[in-house]
């Protein structure tokens, strides 16, 4: 084929998404779970972060707190697992490397979703739908995980196609909306709620409802100028994408994050400033490590604490504060001092605290830093060397080997995970067993 022809070929995206990813990972290594209702709980066994189809059928919502599910658990024999991110991460890597072998243009969008550019590769498999089935079979066979494939002229359409493939058995897990007739596509769009569109959240759905935009079709046919005036360019872009005009390219390099968050529930309720301070310092530690890894600095740090809103008889408190820094920094010690300063301002005695966390904000590229009046280049260089050494040690020996004393020694607040499955693929002493 001529190079010019290749360049002119219209873009075609595929979204490959693992069905109920965490639950499916558990089932690969524990075949007894097939057909059984399974949930995976968040850190600290707080709430459901993944549900098998059987659990979804019982009406359990995403994020449902586990203690509210206890009755259902007894009645229907739901099996609950603590999240096993080591296993899920390894399985995710396997899926991506299988995909990369099949289609080279790939953007890993999340732990269980990848976008592909397929207009130059689909013909090798005899067409888009055939390619989708090859992907599905190969991933199922090699990793044991079930996936669905959605294909469309834009990322938003590929995502929509993926939704169709997942919810409608007639597609057998692969749906290409680019191959549909206009009438057929319109019919599917009429039948699906606007909340299913990529980027349309709960708030936006409510606001759109007031505009009588309820289905995907309503959104596609809405007056784009009025929509833009009312809802902004992001939604306008979404509508263009649904109309087949590609606005979002495949991002092979993940853009630097604008905020870095580290937070977690405590293993047990905490009642002292001392314990909460240790946890906050720990989160600063984890977040600033990520900050340095992406070569950014932070201009402010947000610290927050809260009690457990589900313990209705307890008195409730939640507080948060943004602490701006005199100068941007990526030094764990500076950020810890700022966070603890903030914490002392928001901490109230007499409450049982359930969760705390920090968010690094106003991130910018480290090289773009502005000189300030009180600049001390020597101190900066010293800081860079200390942080570099800490990160190097922790990379080899595990996060938290070297940490500021503020992060504590005992860590009584650390995560509890009651029923985590073995780390089947990464630990010699936790391998699956065959008799």
């Amino acid at each position: 084929m001529e190079p010019a022809q290749i360049a002119n070929k219209a873009a075609l995206f595929a979204l490959v998404d693992v069905n109920n990813f965490y639950v499916s990972c558990e089932r690969v290594f524990n075949p007894r779970l097939e057909g059984v209702p399974v949930v995976v709980l968040s850190n600290n066994d707080g709430c459901a972060v993944a549900r098998s189809n059987e659990v979804k059928a019982l009406g359990v919502r995403m994020g449902a707190p586990w203690f509210m599910l206890k009755d259902l658990q007894k009645k229907h024999g739901i099996v609950a697992y603590s999240s096993n991110y080591t296993l899920y991460g390894d399985m995710s890597n396997r899926v991506v490397s299988v995909l990369r072998d099949l289609v080279p243009d790939i953007e890993v969008y999340s732990i269980d979703e990848s976008f592909l550019r397929v207009e130059h590769t689909a013909h090798l498999y005899g067409g888009t739908v055939q390619m989708g089935h090859v992907i599905r079979r190969r991933i199922r066979r090699w990793t044991g995980l079930p996936v669905c494939v959605g294909i469309g002229e834009t990322k938003t359409l590929a995502k929509f196609a993926n939704h169709l493939a997942k919810k409608n058995a007639c597609f057998d897990g692969v749906c290409d909306v680019a191959a549909m007739s206009q009438g057929e596509l319109e019919q599917w769009m009429r039948g699906i709620a606007v909340s299913e569109v990529w980027g349309v959240g709960r708030r936006l759905t409510e606001r759109l409802a007031r505009w009588k935009v309820n289905t995907v079709h309503d959104l596609v046919t809405a007056d784009i100028k009025r929509l833009r005036a009312e809802f902004g360019v992001v939604l306008e872009r979404t509508v263009s994408e649904l109309r087949g005009v590609s606005c979002l390219a495949l991002e092979d390099v993940t853009p630097a994050k604008q905020q870095i968050m580290s937070s977690r529930s405590f293993g047990e309720l905490q009642h002292t400033l001392e314990q909460v301070s240790e946890a906050v310092a720990w989160h600063v530690h984890a977040a600033s490590e990520k900050l340095r890894a992406q070569r950014s600095t932070a201009g402010a740090i947000y610290v927050f604490i809260r009690t457990n809103p589900f313990r209705e008889r307890d008195s409730q408190y939640s507080g948060g504060l943004v602490v701006p820094l005199a100068d941007v920094s990526d030094d764990t010690r500076t950020l810890t001092a700022a966070a603890l300063h903030g914490l002392r301002r928001i901490y109230r005695d007499g409450y049982a605290y359930k969760k705390c966390g920090v968010m690094l904000m106003e991130l910018q590229d480290k090289r773009l830093r502005q000189e300030t009046l009180f600049d001390d280049p020597l101190a900066r260089a010293r800081s860079a060397r200390v942080m570099g050494a800490i990160d190097a040690v922790n990379r080899v020996w595990g996060r938290g080997t070297l940490r500021t004393a503020a992060a504590g020694v005992t860590q009584r607040w650390a995560m509890r995970s009651g029923n985590r499955s073995p780390r089947y693929t990464t630990h010699w002493n936790e391998l699956p067993v065959a008799r």
């Binding site: 075949p31 097939e34 490397s97 067993v433 065959a434 008799r435």
Partner: protein, 153 residues
């Protein structure tokens, strides 16, 4: 044999053009010190070191490790406590050792296909073969492609 060319020089005396190609001038590594005189006779035989992962694993993303419990595969040289490499990408053919799912449990056996049906056979006379009924689907988890064992040494 006479290696002289037209100019009357033997081959090793023929002046060679020095290639001042960037990649050659900046070649960053040397396999061994170059002593004046002869190059190391071992240089031409330099190869990658042996890597057990490469030996054992053909398809990295499809290969998993299992711990064997029990002695049902003793005669195949697979003992209690051994670690086996399991490749999910391989076709489960007659005669191969496989991990199969039977009653929700993973079992390691040799796959035996014949006209009369499919059997999972142990390699130990104390274990009877497991016949797979014609109307049930045998789920083969993966094909065993290697076994590793460490001794206390």
């Amino acid at each position: 044999m006479n290696l002289a060319n037209e100019a009357g020089r033997t081959l090793h005396q023929t002046p060679l053009k020095l290639a001042l190609d960037q990649s050659i001038r900046t070649a960053p590594f040397y396999l061994c010190k170059v002593p004046a005189g002869f190059p190391s006779p071992a240089n031409d035989y330099m190869e990658d070191e042996l890597d057990l992962n490469v030996f054992l694993v053909q398809h990295k993303s499809a290969t998993f490790f299992f711990r064997v419990q029990g002695d049902s595969m003793r005669e195949a040289g697979i003992l209690d406590g051994d670690i086996v490499a399991v490749d999910r990408s391989l076709e489960p053919q007659h005669g191969l050792i496989v991990i199969a799912v039977v009653n929700g449990e993973c079992t390691i056996k040799r796959l035996h296909k014949s006209r009369s049906g499919i059997e999972l056979r142990a390699e130990n006379p104390n274990y009877p073969p497991i016949a797979i009924a014609a109307d049930t689907q045998l789920e083969v988890w993966g094909v065993v492609c290697g076994v590793v064992r460490r001794y206390p040494a």
